[in-house]
Symmetry: C2
Subunit: 139 residues, 2 copies
């Protein structure tokens, strides 16, 4: 028998809803060690706290910012004060920064290409009749 004591602990459904993800995702994060194993009821039901909600939301924010789950796992090493995962953290941040700068440069190039492409089309409805072919095939 499990009682929700003044909103401090939740079973997986309520927890997942609070996090804005679904249950399977929570179990998936646990398997990937992004979430530590939660305490359980006698029946084996997982019990979560508000701190866990913060953690999942943090992972989701990192994800929105373009970090993969394994990168988030690395960053969580800082939060968890885990020396192993903190090894080379500065270099990790530096590498990620470089990567992002390259991505931005690539996207900007693509953006201007698309704009150019649009401008070259005399009739918006007949893009296949504009100089797109030559433009695309010969850089």
């Amino acid at each position: 028998m499990f009682i929700e004591v003044n909103n401090l602990s939740y079973r997986i459904s309520v927890f997942a809803e609070k996090c804005g993800v679904n249950k399977e995702t929570i179990r998936y994060y646990e398997k990937k060690e992004l979430l530590k194993e939660p305490i359980r009821t006698d029946a084996g039901y997982r019990i979560y706290t508000d701190d866990d909600v913060k953690r999942v939301k943090f992972i989701k924010r990192l994800q929105d910012l373009g970090f993969s789950l394994s990168e988030s796992y690395k960053l969580l090493g800082v939060v968890d004060n885990d020396n192993v995962r903190c090894q080379g953290m500065y270099e990790f941040v530096l590498r990620k920064e470089k990567e992002i700068q390259k991505q931005i440069a690539d996207l900007k190039r693509t953006e201007s290409m698309l704009q150019d492409l649009k401008n070259r089309c005399p009739d918006q409805k007949a893009i296949h009749q504009c100089p797109i072919i030559e433009w695309l095939v010969f850089d």
Copy 2:
């Protein structure tokens, strides 16, 4: 018996090498209809030309620019003068442009966060001792 006549036609290995991808990728692109079915020798060996090299390199360039294979398939509709794939091409370009602009904005946000993160660290070797935790957990 197959003779390479003055470098105009290649079997899959040489072709793949010229394109900078491997054989399986070529067959994969064929299956995905990014490459049309090539002519074959009597033994059934695929034969490619320099035009095919240009096409694969084009696909690779699009990929570097952030286009997925299915998007490249769409764009190749223009090259191939395929009316079906050319349907709604202008809208496609427009949509892609918006998408890229959003991606650029997101990446810029992440970039400045990473820069901020680096600057907050007094000692480059001890990032786990800088205010990263609070910064990460409470936006």
